[in-house]
Protein backbone atom coordinates (compact mmCIF):
# COMPACT_ATOMS: atom_id res chain seq x y z
CA UNK A 1 0.00 0.00 0.00
CA UNK A 2 1.33 3.39 -0.93
CA UNK A 3 1.59 6.18 1.58
CA UNK A 4 -0.54 9.26 1.26
CA UNK A 5 1.44 12.44 1.46
CA UNK A 6 -0.45 15.48 2.67
CA UNK A 7 0.86 18.67 1.14
CA UNK A 8 -0.30 22.28 1.03
CA UNK A 9 -1.89 23.78 -2.09
CA UNK A 10 -1.47 24.49 -4.97
CA UNK A 11 -1.88 20.93 -6.20
CA UNK A 12 -0.60 21.61 -9.66
CA UNK A 13 1.89 19.25 -11.19
CA UNK A 14 4.82 21.20 -12.44
CA UNK A 15 8.53 21.61 -12.24
CA UNK A 16 8.26 23.94 -9.30
CA UNK A 17 7.94 22.30 -5.96
CA UNK A 18 7.68 23.95 -2.59
CA UNK A 19 11.20 22.71 -1.82
CA UNK A 20 12.62 24.27 -4.96
CA UNK A 21 11.03 27.67 -4.37
CA UNK A 22 12.08 27.73 -0.74
CA UNK A 23 15.62 26.64 -1.55
CA UNK A 24 15.92 29.43 -4.08
CA UNK A 25 14.77 31.94 -1.50
CA UNK A 26 17.42 30.60 0.87
CA UNK A 27 20.08 30.98 -1.85
CA UNK A 28 18.98 34.54 -2.54
CA UNK A 29 19.20 35.33 1.17
CA UNK A 30 22.80 34.12 1.46
CA UNK A 31 24.44 37.34 0.16
CA UNK A 32 22.25 39.37 2.51
CA UNK A 33 23.31 37.17 5.43
CA UNK A 34 26.98 37.37 4.52
CA UNK A 35 26.84 41.13 4.36
CA UNK A 36 25.07 41.23 7.71
CA UNK A 37 27.80 39.08 9.25
CA UNK A 38 30.44 41.33 7.64
CA UNK A 39 28.71 44.32 9.29
CA UNK A 40 28.31 42.94 12.78
CA UNK A 41 30.74 40.06 12.96
CA UNK A 42 30.52 36.99 15.14
CA UNK A 43 27.44 38.17 17.07
CA UNK A 44 25.35 38.30 13.91
CA UNK A 45 26.58 34.84 12.92
CA UNK A 46 25.70 33.41 16.34
CA UNK A 47 22.30 35.10 16.35
CA UNK A 48 21.48 33.72 12.92
CA UNK A 49 22.60 30.22 13.84
CA UNK A 50 20.69 30.14 17.12
CA UNK A 51 17.45 31.60 15.73
CA UNK A 52 17.45 29.33 12.68
CA UNK A 53 18.38 26.36 14.86
CA UNK A 54 15.50 27.08 17.21
CA UNK A 55 13.12 27.31 14.24
CA UNK A 56 14.33 24.01 12.80
CA UNK A 57 14.18 22.18 16.13
CA UNK A 58 10.66 23.46 16.78
CA UNK A 59 9.59 22.41 13.31
CA UNK A 60 11.14 18.99 13.78
CA UNK A 61 9.35 18.55 17.10
CA UNK A 62 5.97 19.68 15.75
CA UNK A 63 6.21 17.50 12.66
CA UNK A 64 7.25 14.52 14.77
CA UNK A 65 4.37 14.92 17.21
CA UNK A 66 2.01 15.22 14.27
CA UNK A 67 0.80 18.71 15.08
CA UNK A 68 2.04 20.12 11.83
CA UNK A 69 2.27 18.87 8.27
CA UNK A 70 5.37 19.19 6.14
CA UNK A 71 8.98 18.24 6.58
CA UNK A 72 12.20 19.95 7.48
CA UNK A 73 13.41 19.42 3.94
CA UNK A 74 11.09 22.06 2.53
CA UNK A 75 13.40 24.80 3.89
CA UNK A 76 10.52 27.02 4.98
CA UNK A 77 11.62 26.98 8.62
CA UNK A 78 15.14 27.90 7.48
CA UNK A 79 13.78 30.97 5.72
CA UNK A 80 11.71 31.90 8.75
CA UNK A 81 14.79 31.63 10.95
CA UNK A 82 17.06 33.66 8.68
CA UNK A 83 14.48 36.41 8.16
CA UNK A 84 13.71 36.55 11.87
CA UNK A 85 17.41 36.89 12.68
CA UNK A 86 17.76 39.67 10.12
CA UNK A 87 14.98 41.67 11.77
CA UNK A 88 16.47 41.35 15.26
CA UNK A 89 19.30 43.59 16.49
CA UNK A 90 22.69 41.88 16.04
CA UNK A 91 23.42 42.01 19.76
CA UNK A 92 20.04 40.51 20.69
CA UNK A 93 20.55 38.01 23.53
CA UNK A 94 20.81 34.54 22.05
CA UNK A 95 18.31 33.02 24.46
CA UNK A 96 15.74 35.60 23.46
CA UNK A 97 16.49 34.74 19.85
CA UNK A 98 15.75 31.11 20.63
CA UNK A 99 12.43 32.14 22.23
CA UNK A 100 11.60 34.17 19.14
CA UNK A 101 12.37 31.23 16.86
CA UNK A 102 10.28 28.85 18.93
CA UNK A 103 7.30 31.24 19.03
CA UNK A 104 7.63 31.95 15.30
CA UNK A 105 7.28 28.31 14.30
CA UNK A 106 5.03 27.04 17.10
CA UNK A 107 2.60 29.94 17.34
CA UNK A 108 3.00 31.37 13.85
CA UNK A 109 2.88 28.15 11.87
CA UNK A 110 2.53 24.92 13.82
CA UNK A 111 -0.70 25.82 15.58
CA UNK A 112 -2.35 26.57 12.27
CA UNK A 113 -1.33 23.23 10.79
CA UNK A 114 1.96 23.93 9.07
CA UNK A 115 3.20 25.45 5.88
CA UNK A 116 0.46 26.97 3.76
CA UNK A 117 -2.10 27.13 6.57
CA UNK A 118 -0.60 29.99 8.52
CA UNK A 119 -2.47 33.29 8.55
CA UNK A 120 0.47 35.49 9.54
CA UNK A 121 4.06 35.53 8.46
CA UNK A 122 5.75 33.25 11.05
CA UNK A 123 8.94 35.32 11.29
CA UNK A 124 6.95 38.44 12.08
CA UNK A 125 4.84 36.62 14.67
CA UNK A 126 8.07 35.65 16.43
CA UNK A 127 9.36 39.18 16.23
CA UNK A 128 6.09 40.68 17.45
CA UNK A 129 6.18 38.37 20.47
CA UNK A 130 9.72 39.28 21.52
CA UNK A 131 9.05 42.95 20.83
CA UNK A 132 6.16 42.85 23.30
CA UNK A 133 8.07 40.67 25.77
CA UNK A 134 11.50 42.34 25.67
CA UNK A 135 10.95 45.93 24.49
CA UNK A 136 14.30 47.20 25.79
CA UNK A 137 16.49 44.50 24.32
CA UNK A 138 14.91 44.72 20.88
CA UNK A 139 15.45 48.46 20.69
CA UNK A 140 19.13 48.23 21.66
CA UNK A 141 21.28 48.43 18.57
CA UNK A 142 25.06 48.62 18.43
CA UNK A 143 27.03 50.41 15.72
CA UNK A 144 28.12 48.40 12.70
CA UNK A 145 31.72 47.90 11.47
CA UNK A 146 33.21 47.95 14.95
CA UNK A 147 36.90 46.98 15.13
CA UNK A 148 37.39 43.44 16.35
CA UNK A 149 33.84 42.41 15.59
CA UNK A 150 34.92 39.05 14.19
CA UNK A 151 36.57 37.94 17.42
CA UNK A 152 34.49 39.52 20.12
CA UNK A 153 30.83 39.09 20.90
CA UNK A 154 28.63 42.06 21.62
CA UNK A 155 28.25 41.47 25.38
CA UNK A 156 24.44 41.51 25.32
CA UNK A 157 24.47 38.46 23.01
CA UNK A 158 25.84 36.18 25.65
CA UNK A 159 23.33 36.91 28.41
CA UNK A 160 22.39 33.87 30.49
CA UNK A 161 18.95 32.43 29.74
CA UNK A 162 16.20 34.38 31.55
CA UNK A 163 18.73 37.00 32.62
CA UNK A 164 18.98 40.63 31.63
CA UNK A 165 21.58 41.39 28.93
CA UNK A 166 24.61 43.51 29.79
CA UNK A 167 24.43 47.20 29.05
CA UNK A 168 25.99 47.90 25.68
CA UNK A 169 26.80 51.55 26.44
CA UNK A 170 29.36 50.56 29.10
CA UNK A 171 31.02 48.22 26.64
CA UNK A 172 31.11 50.94 24.00
CA UNK A 173 32.60 53.36 26.52
CA UNK A 174 35.38 50.90 27.28
CA UNK A 175 36.20 50.77 23.59
CA UNK A 176 36.15 54.58 23.47
CA UNK A 177 33.29 54.44 21.00
CA UNK A 178 30.67 56.10 23.14
CA UNK A 179 30.48 58.89 20.61
CA UNK A 180 28.76 56.46 18.29
CA UNK A 181 25.20 56.21 19.41
CA UNK A 182 23.61 52.85 18.89
CA UNK A 183 20.24 54.07 17.66
CA UNK A 184 18.83 53.17 14.27
CA UNK A 185 18.37 56.02 11.75
CA UNK A 186 14.62 55.84 12.26
CA UNK A 187 14.87 56.14 16.06
CA UNK A 188 17.37 58.96 15.62
CA UNK A 189 14.95 60.82 13.39
CA UNK A 190 11.96 60.18 15.61
CA UNK A 191 13.49 60.96 18.98
CA UNK A 192 16.39 63.27 18.16
CA UNK A 193 15.40 64.83 14.86
CA UNK A 194 18.59 63.75 13.06
CA UNK A 195 18.24 62.71 9.44
CA UNK A 196 20.71 60.19 8.02
CA UNK A 197 22.42 60.79 4.68
CA UNK A 198 21.27 59.19 1.45
CA UNK A 199 24.28 57.09 0.45
CA UNK A 200 24.80 55.88 4.01
CA UNK A 201 21.26 54.53 3.98
CA UNK A 202 21.46 52.98 0.57
CA UNK A 203 24.71 51.07 0.95
CA UNK A 204 24.91 50.71 4.76
CA UNK A 205 28.67 50.94 4.20
CA UNK A 206 29.84 54.28 5.48
CA UNK A 207 30.04 55.17 9.12
CA UNK A 208 29.00 53.02 12.03
CA UNK A 209 25.26 53.27 11.50
CA UNK A 210 23.14 50.75 13.30
CA UNK A 211 21.32 49.39 10.28
CA UNK A 212 20.57 46.08 8.68
CA UNK A 213 22.02 44.87 5.38
CA UNK A 214 22.20 47.30 2.49
CA UNK A 215 18.82 47.98 0.88
CA UNK A 216 20.49 47.84 -2.54
CA UNK A 217 21.70 44.31 -1.88
CA UNK A 218 18.26 43.21 -0.73
CA UNK A 219 16.68 44.76 -3.81
CA UNK A 220 19.19 42.97 -6.04
CA UNK A 221 18.48 39.62 -4.38
CA UNK A 222 14.75 40.31 -4.60
CA UNK A 223 15.11 41.16 -8.27
CA UNK A 224 16.72 37.77 -8.87
CA UNK A 225 13.75 36.07 -7.20
CA UNK A 226 11.24 38.20 -9.07
CA UNK A 227 13.04 37.57 -12.35
CA UNK A 228 12.88 33.84 -11.78
CA UNK A 229 9.29 34.30 -10.68
CA UNK A 230 9.79 32.98 -7.19
CA UNK A 231 8.10 36.08 -5.85
CA UNK A 232 5.61 38.42 -7.38
CA UNK A 233 7.05 41.79 -8.32
CA UNK A 234 3.70 43.48 -7.73
CA UNK A 235 3.81 43.21 -3.94
CA UNK A 236 7.18 44.94 -3.31
CA UNK A 237 6.41 47.51 -6.01
CA UNK A 238 3.07 48.30 -4.46
CA UNK A 239 4.50 48.55 -0.95
CA UNK A 240 7.41 50.79 -1.91
CA UNK A 241 5.21 52.81 -4.26
CA UNK A 242 2.49 53.23 -1.66
CA UNK A 243 4.87 54.19 1.13
CA UNK A 244 6.82 56.49 -1.20
CA UNK A 245 3.69 58.21 -2.50
CA UNK A 246 2.23 58.83 0.95
CA UNK A 247 5.59 60.00 2.30
CA UNK A 248 6.06 62.30 -0.70
CA UNK A 249 2.59 63.81 -0.25
CA UNK A 250 3.27 64.55 3.40
CA UNK A 251 6.72 65.93 2.55
CA UNK A 252 5.21 68.10 -0.17
CA UNK A 253 2.73 69.73 2.19
CA UNK A 254 4.92 69.86 5.26
CA UNK A 255 8.60 69.67 4.31
CA UNK A 256 9.75 71.00 7.66
CA UNK A 257 7.78 68.50 9.64
CA UNK A 258 8.29 65.28 7.71
CA UNK A 259 11.47 63.67 6.35
CA UNK A 260 11.90 63.25 2.61
CA UNK A 261 10.37 60.18 0.98
CA UNK A 262 13.82 58.81 0.19
CA UNK A 263 14.55 58.48 3.89
CA UNK A 264 11.20 56.78 4.36
CA UNK A 265 11.95 54.17 1.71
CA UNK A 266 15.53 53.27 2.54
CA UNK A 267 15.57 53.39 6.33
CA UNK A 268 14.52 50.68 8.72
CA UNK A 269 13.25 47.36 7.53
CA UNK A 270 10.92 48.56 4.80
CA UNK A 271 12.91 47.09 1.91
CA UNK A 272 13.52 43.77 3.67
CA UNK A 273 9.84 43.59 4.66
CA UNK A 274 8.59 44.51 1.22
CA UNK A 275 10.82 42.04 -0.62
CA UNK A 276 10.96 39.06 1.71
CA UNK A 277 8.24 39.28 4.35
CA UNK A 278 5.17 40.63 2.61
CA UNK A 279 5.68 38.37 -0.41
CA UNK A 280 5.28 35.22 1.68
CA UNK A 281 3.06 33.09 -0.53
CA UNK A 282 0.81 31.68 2.17
CA UNK A 283 -0.07 35.02 3.70
CA UNK A 284 -0.46 37.37 0.72
CA UNK A 285 -3.27 37.58 -1.84
CA UNK A 286 -3.07 35.51 -5.03
CA UNK A 287 -5.10 37.85 -7.21
CA UNK A 288 -3.07 40.46 -9.12
CA UNK A 289 -5.36 43.34 -8.21
CA UNK A 290 -5.37 42.09 -4.63
CA UNK A 291 -1.59 42.28 -4.56
CA UNK A 292 -1.64 45.95 -5.48
CA UNK A 293 -4.24 46.64 -2.83
CA UNK A 294 -2.37 44.60 -0.23
CA UNK A 295 0.93 46.31 -1.00
CA UNK A 296 -0.61 49.76 -1.00
CA UNK A 297 -2.24 49.07 2.35
CA UNK A 298 1.06 47.95 3.88
CA UNK A 299 2.88 50.98 2.46
CA UNK A 300 0.27 53.38 3.81
CA UNK A 301 0.19 51.72 7.24
CA UNK A 302 3.99 51.78 7.48
CA UNK A 303 4.08 55.54 6.96
CA UNK A 304 1.18 56.12 9.35
CA UNK A 305 2.74 54.01 12.12
CA UNK A 306 6.19 55.55 11.65
CA UNK A 307 4.93 59.14 11.68
CA UNK A 308 2.01 59.10 14.07
CA UNK A 309 2.62 56.37 16.64
CA UNK A 310 5.04 56.00 19.51
CA UNK A 311 7.06 53.38 17.65
CA UNK A 312 9.98 54.34 15.44
CA UNK A 313 9.41 51.41 13.06
CA UNK A 314 6.08 50.20 11.69
CA UNK A 315 6.82 47.71 8.93
CA UNK A 316 6.20 44.66 11.09
CA UNK A 317 2.74 45.66 12.29
CA UNK A 318 1.82 46.97 8.83
CA UNK A 319 2.62 43.59 7.27
CA UNK A 320 0.82 41.68 10.02
CA UNK A 321 -2.29 43.82 9.48
CA UNK A 322 -1.93 43.27 5.74
CA UNK A 323 -1.74 39.50 6.36
CA UNK A 324 -4.93 39.68 8.39
CA UNK A 325 -6.68 41.58 5.61
CA UNK A 326 -5.54 39.13 2.92
CA UNK A 327 -8.64 36.88 2.83
CA UNK A 328 -10.90 39.93 2.55
CA UNK A 329 -8.74 41.47 -0.17
CA UNK A 330 -8.84 38.22 -2.12
CA UNK A 331 -12.59 38.16 -1.83
CA UNK A 332 -13.16 41.61 -3.24
CA UNK A 333 -10.59 41.30 -6.02
CA UNK A 334 -11.69 38.10 -7.68
CA UNK A 335 -10.70 38.34 -11.34
CA UNK A 336 -13.48 38.41 -13.90
CA UNK A 337 -14.10 34.88 -15.13
CA UNK A 338 -15.11 33.75 -18.60
CA UNK A 339 -18.34 35.37 -19.59
CA UNK A 340 -18.00 38.86 -18.23
CA UNK A 341 -21.16 40.74 -17.48
CA UNK A 342 -22.19 43.88 -19.34
CA UNK A 343 -20.28 46.17 -17.00
CA UNK A 344 -17.17 44.05 -16.87
CA UNK A 345 -18.15 42.38 -13.64
CA UNK A 346 -18.39 38.67 -13.12
CA UNK A 347 -21.36 36.89 -14.57
CA UNK A 348 -23.55 35.38 -11.91
CA UNK A 349 -22.66 31.80 -11.22
CA UNK A 350 -19.57 31.87 -13.41
CA UNK A 351 -16.82 29.41 -12.61
CA UNK A 352 -13.13 30.09 -12.29
CA UNK A 353 -11.06 27.78 -14.42
CA UNK A 354 -7.47 27.30 -13.39
CA UNK A 355 -5.67 29.71 -15.64
CA UNK A 356 -2.20 31.24 -15.18
CA UNK A 357 -3.67 34.65 -15.80
CA UNK A 358 -5.65 34.25 -12.63
CA UNK A 359 -2.92 32.71 -10.58
CA UNK A 360 -0.06 35.10 -10.76
CA UNK A 361 2.51 32.69 -9.35
CA UNK A 362 2.03 30.50 -12.33
CA UNK A 363 3.67 27.16 -12.57
CA UNK A 364 6.30 26.86 -15.22
CA UNK A 365 4.95 23.58 -16.44
CA UNK A 366 1.28 24.05 -15.70
CA UNK A 367 -1.09 23.29 -18.52
CA UNK A 368 -3.32 26.13 -19.55
CA UNK A 369 -6.90 25.06 -20.09
CA UNK A 370 -8.11 26.24 -23.46
CA UNK A 371 -10.97 28.63 -23.62
CA UNK A 372 -13.99 26.77 -24.74
CA UNK A 373 -16.30 29.28 -26.25
CA UNK A 374 -18.88 28.01 -28.65
CA UNK A 375 -18.50 29.82 -31.92
CA UNK A 376 -22.09 29.53 -32.91
CA UNK A 377 -24.23 29.83 -29.90
CA UNK A 378 -27.23 27.56 -30.30
CA UNK A 379 -30.48 29.44 -30.40
CA UNK A 380 -33.04 29.00 -27.72
CA UNK A 381 -35.41 26.86 -29.77
CA UNK A 382 -32.57 24.64 -30.96
CA UNK A 383 -31.47 23.76 -27.47
CA UNK A 384 -32.36 20.26 -26.56
CA UNK A 385 -34.12 19.76 -23.32
CA UNK A 386 -33.27 16.57 -21.45
CA UNK A 387 -36.87 15.39 -21.52
CA UNK A 388 -37.44 15.52 -25.25
Amino acid sequence: MGTVEIRPAPHIRGERTVEKIMLNVVYSLLPVCLFYIYQYGISALASMTVVTGACLLTERWLVKTGTQSGTLADYSATITGILLALTLPPGFPLWMGAVAGFVAIALGKGLFGGLGFNVFNPALVGRAFVQAAFPTAIATYTPSFLPGRFFEFIPSSLAWPLMMPADATIWLKEKHLDALAGATPLAKWKFEGVLAGAEELITSLSGHMAVGPSPLLILACGAYLAFRRYLDWRVPTAILGGAGAVAWLLYFFGPGHYPNPFFMLFSGGLILGAVYMATDMATSPVTPRGMWLYGGLIGLLTVVIRYYSGLPEGVMYAILIGNAATPLIERITQPAPFGKGVFGGARKGASYPLHPGYISREEAGAVTPKKRILKNKPKADERRTPNS
Binding site: P93, M96, A132, A133, F134, A137, L162, M163, P165
Partner: protein, 211 residues
Protein backbone atom coordinates in the same frame (compact mmCIF):
# COMPACT_ATOMS: atom_id res chain seq x y z
CA UNK B 1 -23.89 2.64 53.17
CA UNK B 2 -21.60 5.31 54.52
CA UNK B 3 -18.75 4.24 52.26
CA UNK B 4 -21.03 4.41 49.23
CA UNK B 5 -22.14 7.90 50.25
CA UNK B 6 -18.54 8.98 50.86
CA UNK B 7 -17.44 7.60 47.51
CA UNK B 8 -20.26 9.45 45.83
CA UNK B 9 -19.37 12.64 47.62
CA UNK B 10 -15.74 12.17 46.66
CA UNK B 11 -16.73 11.79 43.00
CA UNK B 12 -18.89 14.88 43.30
CA UNK B 13 -15.94 16.76 44.74
CA UNK B 14 -13.36 15.55 42.24
CA UNK B 15 -15.60 16.32 39.29
CA UNK B 16 -14.96 20.03 39.62
CA UNK B 17 -11.25 19.63 40.15
CA UNK B 18 -10.47 17.32 37.29
CA UNK B 19 -13.21 15.98 35.00
CA UNK B 20 -15.15 19.21 34.66
CA UNK B 21 -12.56 21.75 35.69
CA UNK B 22 -14.25 25.14 35.17
CA UNK B 23 -11.16 26.74 33.62
CA UNK B 24 -9.54 23.98 31.60
CA UNK B 25 -12.49 21.82 30.60
CA UNK B 26 -15.64 23.95 30.69
CA UNK B 27 -13.76 27.18 29.87
CA UNK B 28 -16.10 29.21 32.08
CA UNK B 29 -15.42 32.40 34.00
CA UNK B 30 -12.79 33.57 31.54
CA UNK B 31 -13.13 37.21 32.52
CA UNK B 32 -11.43 36.94 35.95
CA UNK B 33 -9.24 34.09 34.68
CA UNK B 34 -7.57 36.35 32.13
CA UNK B 35 -7.75 39.61 34.03
CA UNK B 36 -6.54 39.00 37.57
CA UNK B 37 -3.96 36.23 37.09
CA UNK B 38 -1.02 38.62 36.84
CA UNK B 39 0.40 37.20 40.06
CA UNK B 40 -0.12 34.02 42.06
CA UNK B 41 -1.40 35.94 45.10
CA UNK B 42 -4.06 37.70 43.06
CA UNK B 43 -5.05 34.44 41.44
CA UNK B 44 -5.38 32.53 44.69
CA UNK B 45 -7.37 35.31 46.41
CA UNK B 46 -9.73 35.57 43.48
CA UNK B 47 -10.13 31.80 43.49
CA UNK B 48 -10.84 31.66 47.23
CA UNK B 49 -13.32 34.55 47.05
CA UNK B 50 -15.17 32.84 44.23
CA UNK B 51 -15.08 29.51 46.07
CA UNK B 52 -16.63 31.04 49.17
CA UNK B 53 -19.42 32.66 47.16
CA UNK B 54 -19.93 29.41 45.26
CA UNK B 55 -20.24 27.21 48.34
CA UNK B 56 -22.44 29.60 50.30
CA UNK B 57 -24.81 30.46 47.49
CA UNK B 58 -25.09 26.87 46.26
CA UNK B 59 -25.94 25.78 49.79
CA UNK B 60 -28.62 28.43 50.16
CA UNK B 61 -30.04 27.84 46.71
CA UNK B 62 -30.22 24.14 47.45
CA UNK B 63 -31.99 24.73 50.77
CA UNK B 64 -34.50 27.01 49.11
CA UNK B 65 -34.98 24.85 46.04
CA UNK B 66 -38.41 23.56 47.09
CA UNK B 67 -39.89 26.95 47.94
CA UNK B 68 -38.44 28.92 45.01
CA UNK B 69 -41.08 29.60 42.33
CA UNK B 70 -39.73 28.43 38.98
CA UNK B 71 -40.58 31.68 37.21
CA UNK B 72 -38.37 33.90 39.36
CA UNK B 73 -35.61 31.45 40.17
CA UNK B 74 -32.85 33.35 38.31
CA UNK B 75 -33.70 36.54 40.19
CA UNK B 76 -33.58 34.60 43.45
CA UNK B 77 -30.17 33.12 42.56
CA UNK B 78 -28.80 36.53 41.69
CA UNK B 79 -29.99 38.07 44.93
CA UNK B 80 -28.45 35.22 46.92
CA UNK B 81 -25.15 35.40 45.02
CA UNK B 82 -25.03 39.20 45.25
CA UNK B 83 -25.51 39.02 49.00
CA UNK B 84 -22.46 36.81 49.45
CA UNK B 85 -20.41 38.84 46.96
CA UNK B 86 -21.11 41.99 48.95
CA UNK B 87 -19.92 40.18 52.07
CA UNK B 88 -16.73 39.05 50.31
CA UNK B 89 -16.21 42.54 48.91
CA UNK B 90 -16.27 44.10 52.38
CA UNK B 91 -14.19 41.27 53.85
CA UNK B 92 -11.38 41.72 51.32
CA UNK B 93 -11.49 45.47 51.78
CA UNK B 94 -11.08 44.95 55.53
CA UNK B 95 -8.28 42.39 55.23
CA UNK B 96 -6.05 43.99 52.60
CA UNK B 97 -6.61 47.21 50.76
CA UNK B 98 -3.74 46.54 48.33
CA UNK B 99 -5.31 43.26 47.31
CA UNK B 100 -8.66 44.98 46.99
CA UNK B 101 -7.14 47.55 44.63
CA UNK B 102 -5.32 44.86 42.64
CA UNK B 103 -8.47 42.83 42.06
CA UNK B 104 -10.51 45.97 41.35
CA UNK B 105 -13.93 45.57 39.85
CA UNK B 106 -13.49 41.83 39.45
CA UNK B 107 -14.61 41.19 43.04
CA UNK B 108 -18.00 42.75 42.39
CA UNK B 109 -18.10 40.99 39.04
CA UNK B 110 -18.15 37.60 40.79
CA UNK B 111 -21.93 38.17 40.78
CA UNK B 112 -22.06 37.57 37.06
CA UNK B 113 -19.49 34.76 37.04
CA UNK B 114 -21.15 32.07 34.98
CA UNK B 115 -19.63 29.25 37.03
CA UNK B 116 -21.71 30.27 40.06
CA UNK B 117 -24.95 30.86 38.23
CA UNK B 118 -24.36 27.70 36.20
CA UNK B 119 -23.77 25.58 39.31
CA UNK B 120 -26.85 27.07 41.01
CA UNK B 121 -29.05 26.32 38.03
CA UNK B 122 -27.60 22.99 36.95
CA UNK B 123 -26.70 21.38 40.26
CA UNK B 124 -27.75 23.13 43.46
CA UNK B 125 -31.37 23.58 42.41
CA UNK B 126 -31.74 19.81 41.96
CA UNK B 127 -29.72 18.35 44.80
CA UNK B 128 -29.80 18.33 48.59
CA UNK B 129 -27.57 20.88 50.36
CA UNK B 130 -24.70 18.53 51.27
CA UNK B 131 -24.27 17.26 47.72
CA UNK B 132 -24.63 20.78 46.32
CA UNK B 133 -22.02 22.18 48.67
CA UNK B 134 -19.61 19.31 48.04
CA UNK B 135 -19.91 19.85 44.35
CA UNK B 136 -19.50 23.60 44.81
CA UNK B 137 -16.36 23.05 46.89
CA UNK B 138 -14.91 20.91 44.13
CA UNK B 139 -15.77 23.46 41.48
CA UNK B 140 -14.32 26.28 43.58
CA UNK B 141 -11.14 24.31 44.17
CA UNK B 142 -10.92 23.54 40.45
CA UNK B 143 -11.36 27.21 39.63
CA UNK B 144 -8.71 28.19 42.18
CA UNK B 145 -6.29 25.62 40.76
CA UNK B 146 -6.95 26.91 37.26
CA UNK B 147 -6.33 30.52 38.25
CA UNK B 148 -3.24 29.51 40.18
CA UNK B 149 -1.86 27.60 37.19
CA UNK B 150 -2.11 30.78 35.12
CA UNK B 151 -0.96 33.09 37.88
CA UNK B 152 2.17 31.07 38.68
CA UNK B 153 3.37 30.98 35.07
CA UNK B 154 2.60 34.64 34.49
CA UNK B 155 4.25 35.77 37.71
CA UNK B 156 7.38 33.66 37.20
CA UNK B 157 7.93 34.79 33.62
CA UNK B 158 6.56 38.29 33.93
CA UNK B 159 8.21 39.24 37.19
CA UNK B 160 10.71 36.55 38.15
CA UNK B 161 8.94 35.98 41.46
CA UNK B 162 6.55 33.47 43.00
CA UNK B 163 4.18 34.69 45.73
CA UNK B 164 6.40 37.77 45.86
CA UNK B 165 9.61 35.79 46.49
CA UNK B 166 12.39 36.39 44.00
CA UNK B 167 13.32 33.19 42.16
CA UNK B 168 16.18 34.21 39.93
CA UNK B 169 17.86 36.94 41.92
CA UNK B 170 18.94 40.26 40.51
CA UNK B 171 19.20 40.78 36.80
CA UNK B 172 16.18 38.71 35.81
CA UNK B 173 14.79 39.77 32.48
CA UNK B 174 11.01 40.14 32.88
CA UNK B 175 8.84 39.06 29.96
CA UNK B 176 6.74 42.19 29.80
CA UNK B 177 4.16 40.52 27.59
CA UNK B 178 3.25 38.06 30.36
CA UNK B 179 1.79 40.74 32.64
CA UNK B 180 -0.02 42.34 29.70
CA UNK B 181 -3.39 41.02 28.46
CA UNK B 182 -1.85 39.01 25.58
CA UNK B 183 0.17 37.05 28.14
CA UNK B 184 -3.06 35.88 29.76
CA UNK B 185 -4.31 34.56 26.45
CA UNK B 186 -1.01 32.88 25.62
CA UNK B 187 -0.73 31.13 28.98
CA UNK B 188 -4.38 30.06 29.02
CA UNK B 189 -4.01 28.79 25.45
CA UNK B 190 -0.90 26.83 26.38
CA UNK B 191 -2.63 25.18 29.35
CA UNK B 192 -5.67 24.30 27.23
CA UNK B 193 -3.30 22.89 24.62
CA UNK B 194 -1.61 20.73 27.23
CA UNK B 195 -4.94 19.42 28.53
CA UNK B 196 -6.40 18.64 25.12
CA UNK B 197 -3.15 17.01 24.03
CA UNK B 198 -3.28 14.79 27.11
CA UNK B 199 -6.92 13.91 26.49
CA UNK B 200 -6.22 13.02 22.87
CA UNK B 201 -3.24 10.92 23.78
CA UNK B 202 -5.31 9.06 26.34
CA UNK B 203 -8.00 8.43 23.74
CA UNK B 204 -5.46 7.20 21.23
CA UNK B 205 -3.90 4.88 23.82
CA UNK B 206 -7.29 3.46 24.74
CA UNK B 207 -8.13 2.93 21.10
CA UNK B 208 -4.94 0.95 20.53
CA UNK B 209 -5.57 -1.11 23.68
CA UNK B 210 -9.03 -2.07 22.48
CA UNK B 211 -7.89 -2.84 18.97
Amino acid sequence: MTTVATAKNWDEFMEGIWKQNPVFVMVLGMCPTLAVTVSAINAISMGLATTFVLIASCGLVSMMRNITPKEVRIAVYIVIIATFVTAVDYAIQAISLTLYDALGAFIQLIVVNCIILGRAEAHAARNPPVAAMTNATGMGAGFTIGLLALGVVREILGNGTLFGLSLFGEGFQPWVIMVLPPGGFFVLGSWLLLFSWRARRKQALEATHHA
